[in-house]
């Protein structure tokens, strides 16, 4: 754990071919926080995560207190020729020779994400939800200090999606990793986040932040829950009308 100073502080903008996508996004993240970033489709959420992960050039400044970053992609991005277990081991295999202990760890993590018994399955033999769990397992096996998640549940049906959200929170409560979770679902954001960063449409800025003070497990039907949803929605609406 990194103590009380923030783990990340960013203030960036980004253009593609002279076309401004991100005007100026700046916010901070404290260790152990679960930050959700919401914004309209196309406002630059994926771009933001790619910049944080070092996959994209940018203007501005990023202060990041760690090198260990886990990334869970919008699409699962599993290697189709590797089994679930081998996919989870991928980030380790590119750094060193895989040892017995690594395999044990990977199996343990697969069990943690509910995939016990599916270690030898190829991606094409798994459902969409299962593939996302493998992707999550792959991101957390390197024990990242910060976990970047890009709409990982967007392509799942509502029930599976809620189940995955619950499991993710259980996981997070276990070891309190810092998470930046991108989504355009307000419901998902309010359910998961300790704090929500709302982005304006392109060129995007931070429209505002909402701290969620709800006890867990959260009840999606409670009036407080819906109050928060309205708050976030208002922030989104306000800015898209102006």
């Amino acid at each position: 754990m990194k103590g009380f100073t923030e783990i990340m502080e960013i203030s960036i903008s980004k253009s593609f071919n002279g076309f401004k996508v991100i005007e100026n996004i700046s916010f901070r993240v404290n260790p152990g926080e679960f930050v959700c970033v919401v914004g309209k489709s196309g406002c630059g959420k994926t771009t933001l995560l790619r910049i944080i992960a070092g996959l994209e050039e940018y203007e501005g400044e990023i202060k990041l207190d760690t090198e260990r970053i886990g990334f869970v992609f919008q699409d699962d991005r599993l290697l189709p020729w590797k089994t679930a277990l081998e996919n989870v081991l991928f980030p380790i295999g590119i750094e060193k020779k895989i040892e017995k202990g690594d395999v044990e760890l990977a199996k343990k993590i697969l069990k943690l994400v509910g995939l016990e018994g599916f270690e030898g399955y190829y991606p094409k033999e798994l459902s969409g939800g299962m593939r996302q769990r493998v992707g999550l397992a792959r991101a957390i096996i390197i024990q990242p200090d910060i976990l970047l998640m890009d709409e990982p549940f967007a392509s799942l049906d509502e029930l599976t999606r809620q189940k995955m959200q619950e499991e993710l929170i259980q996981l997070w409560e276990r070891d309190r990793k810092t998470v930046i979770f991108v989504t355009h679902s307000i419901d998902e954001a309010v359910f998961l986040a300790t704090r929500i960063v709302v982005l304006t449409p392109r060129p995007s800025k931070v429209a505002g932040e909402v701290k969620i003070d709800l006890p867990r497990p959260r009840d999606r039907t409670s009036s407080e829950f819906n109050l928060y949803k309205r708050k976030v929605l208002n922030l989104l609406r306000l800015k898209s009308e102006s």
């Binding site: 996959l55 992609f73 991005r77 020729w81 295999g93 590119i94 190829y122 094409k124």
Partner: protein, 252 residues
């Protein structure tokens, strides 16, 4: 399976019909079959070798030529597919040579290798090499180039080095292309060797066997037996590669 039998039966029936009606002046299928079986193990008197021996001579040439081709084409194809600069450097060279059919190289090959000991054999291996090289290279390159950019980005997000990306992402992506390149390469190599053997003295080999039988004359059954052997081996080579493909590409 039933359709397979039906398709073979159709060929045989057409053959019988054409000969019996008098359209084709050829021996009948069962006569050829008898000769084929006889020649399989017993030496044919003029050249003193059986079909197995001729097949082995041809196969040794094809396997040496095409394996050298694969050995060079696969790494080059992967590098060209992965790095545009490598591709730009080699592709002009390749596009100049590729349209020249391997068979057009035969005379020059015999001249180039005239000074070596075993020149005929070397020239033939070289021609097979040319026949196998380009299809394998192009197929490998195409698949390497079509490597999913998202997967490469994924690997980069996990801080993979270029070497790891090549090993873990680009090469596995190219494997289907490599396999089909090997399959096409072997097929073309097999065709070219037969032609190369017909043109020059090889002393043995199926193409040579067919040509000598033709020159001596009156040996249509032998000629067709030789052709059947070529077909059979070509078919088996293809099947072996397909089998390997099924094993290697279980994930597909």
């Amino acid at each position: 399976m039933r359709l397979k039998i039906l398709s073979i039966a159709t060929v045989l029936i057409l053959w019988y019909a054409a000969v019996l009606v008098g359209v084709l002046a050829l021996p009948l299928p069962h006569e050829v079959a008898e000769k084929f079986i006889a020649l399989f193990f017993n030496p044919e008197p003029v050249l003193g070798k059986n079909l197995i021996q001729h097949s082995i001579s041809s196969l040794i040439r094809v396997i040496s030529g095409s394996f050298i081709a694969f050995f060079l084409a696969i790494p080059l194809g992967i590098l060209m597919g992965w790095r545009l600069s490598v591709d730009a450097y080699f592709s002009t060279m390749i596009e100049v040579f590729r349209p020249i059919p391997p068979l057009a190289w035969i005379p020059l090959a015999y001249i180039i290798f005239a000074g070596f000991s075993n020149s005929t054999q070397l020239a033939q291996i070289f021609i097979v090499f040319l026949g196998a090289f380009f299809p394998c290279l192009l197929s490998t390159r195409e698949f390497a180039r079509a490597t999913d950019k998202n997967l490469i980005e994924m690997a980069k997000a996990f801080r993979a080095s270029d070497a790891s990306i090549l090993k873990e992402v680009v090469i596995p992506s190219s494997i289907p292309g490599i396999i089909s390149g090997v399959r096409i390469g072997l097929g073309i190599g097999w065709m070219t060797i037969v032609a190369a053997e017909m043109l020059a003295t090889s002393g043995s080999g199926l193409g040579y066997f067919i040509m000598v039988m033709y020159e001596v004359g009156g040996r249509v059954e032998e000629i067709i037996s030789g052709m059947a052997m070529i077909g059979l081996i070509g078919y088996l080579m293809n099947e072996v590669v397909i089998l390997a493909e099924k094993k290697l590409l279980r994930w597909r």
